[in-house]
């Protein structure tokens, strides 16, 4: 992705130490960073820690960003490294329940449906959370951020072929572990 004039202005502002520019950069990217952290960790508290550390790192290192690659790639690399570092520090991941809780507190006619849906998503998140770190991060970048194989390869620092291989292995593992969802998927027409 090529930086437009505003993005460049914001980044240059950050590089000059302009805290207001940093706030703009945060507002623009907070959902993206938090989503990756949450989907990778499966734990809102851990995701907050990772997102916080990511933005602190961005603020501390923005002077090193030279624009050789896109800002998004640079940001993704930071959040991915924070995720992997956080995991390596051996924090205990808590079960991901926020989706389930959201469904329970929704007072509507579709509570049962939402509850079931939340349960399925919770299953997906829980099982993704059991993938090896290098597979999990490519799965998150692919399905949370919708990045292409090439973009993931650029962020993770491997070839697009390696990304494809990791995704393929992850898919096979997830197919086995999420087999109980296949019947529901057939009913909703997602079987491919």
């Amino acid at each position: 992705m090529v930086l437009d004039g505003n993005d460049r202005e914001v980044i240059e502002g950050c590089q000059r130490g302009d805290y207001d520019a940093f706030r703009v950069l945060f507002e623009t990217n907070q959902d993206r960073v938090y989503s990756i952290a949450l989907r990778y960790s499966g734990d809102p508290a851990a995701a907050m820690d990772i997102a916080q550390e990511t933005f602190l790192k961005v603020w501390a290192s923005i002077g090193d960003f030279r624009g050789d690659s896109s800002f998004e790639s640079w940001l993704y690399r930071i959040v991915v490294n924070r995720c992997l570092d956080y995991r390596r520090r051996g924090r205990r991941w808590m079960p991901f329940l926020s989706g389930l809780l959201d469904a329970v507190v929704t007072p509507a006619e579709s509570v049962l449906h939402k509850l079931m849906r939340a349960e399925v998503e919770d299953d997906v998140q829980r099982i993704v959370g059991k993938l090896p770190a290098e597979q999990r991060i490519v799965v998150v970048l692919r399905y949370t951020e919708g990045l292409s194989y090439e973009e993931i390869a650029d962020v993770v620092g491997c070839s697009a072929g390696t990304v494809a291989s990791r995704l393929n292995r992850a898919h096979k593992l997830l197919e086995r572990r999420l087999a109980h969802l296949k019947k529901d998927a057939r009913r909703s027409g997602h079987v491919g």
Partner: protein
């Protein structure tokens, strides 16, 4: 592929909690806060002032042009040295710091150096001849500036006067 559809739904992006920004600001210790940044900016400005006006860095320039050297000396040392163009000697360049300038030239194949500095307060205009590294030197004060002209031979002193007196006026004394 059904698993991909489930992954897209199960891993969809979410909104960041509102307290994330507050969490980042809480770690102000690691952030260069506005206050501290201003302190650093003031410190940098003060340092720049010192560099520019108090401790001007040493510098030197090479030129054979009297007007250019005079201008450079004034800019870098604050001294006004009334150099004039002369065919009897060849200007080489100058170096200097605040309040002190050295102007180099050559008479034939011999070096001549004119050192100019601010005269101490209360020093009246005077002159003195002395030996300088086997050569001759003459010092004098004029309009609050101390001049020292050093040459290899007494004859060169006469020529060196043309640095400021192209008409060939003898140095004081």
């Amino acid at each position: 592929m059904w698993v991909e559809a489930e992954l897209r739904k199960g891993l969809q992006p979410v909104r960041a909690p509102g307290e994330l920004w507050e969490r980042i600001q809480q770690r102000d210790v690691e952030l260069p806060s506005r206050g501290r940044r201003y302190v650093w900016m003031l410190a940098a400005a003060a340092m720049a002032t010192v560099v520019l006006f108090v401790a001007r860095p040493r510098g030197e320039m090479r030129s054979g042009d009297a007007a250019r050297i005079r201008e450079w000396v004034q800019l870098h040392t604050g001294l006004n040295v009334p150099l004039e163009a002369s065919t009897a000697l060849r200007l080489v360049g100058a170096k200097g710091t605040e309040g002190r300038a050295e102007i180099a030239c050559r008479v034939g194949d011999r070096d001549v150096k004119l050192v100019v500095s601010r005269a101490r307060a209360g020093v009246v205009e005077a002159s003195a001849h002395q030996t300088y590294k086997g050569g001759k030197a003459v010092s004098w004060t004029m309009r609050g500036q101390l001049y020292t002209l050093a040459c290899a031979t007494p004859e060169d002193l006469q020529v060196a006067c043309m640095l400021c007196h192209a008409g060939g006026v003898r140095p004081v004394g």
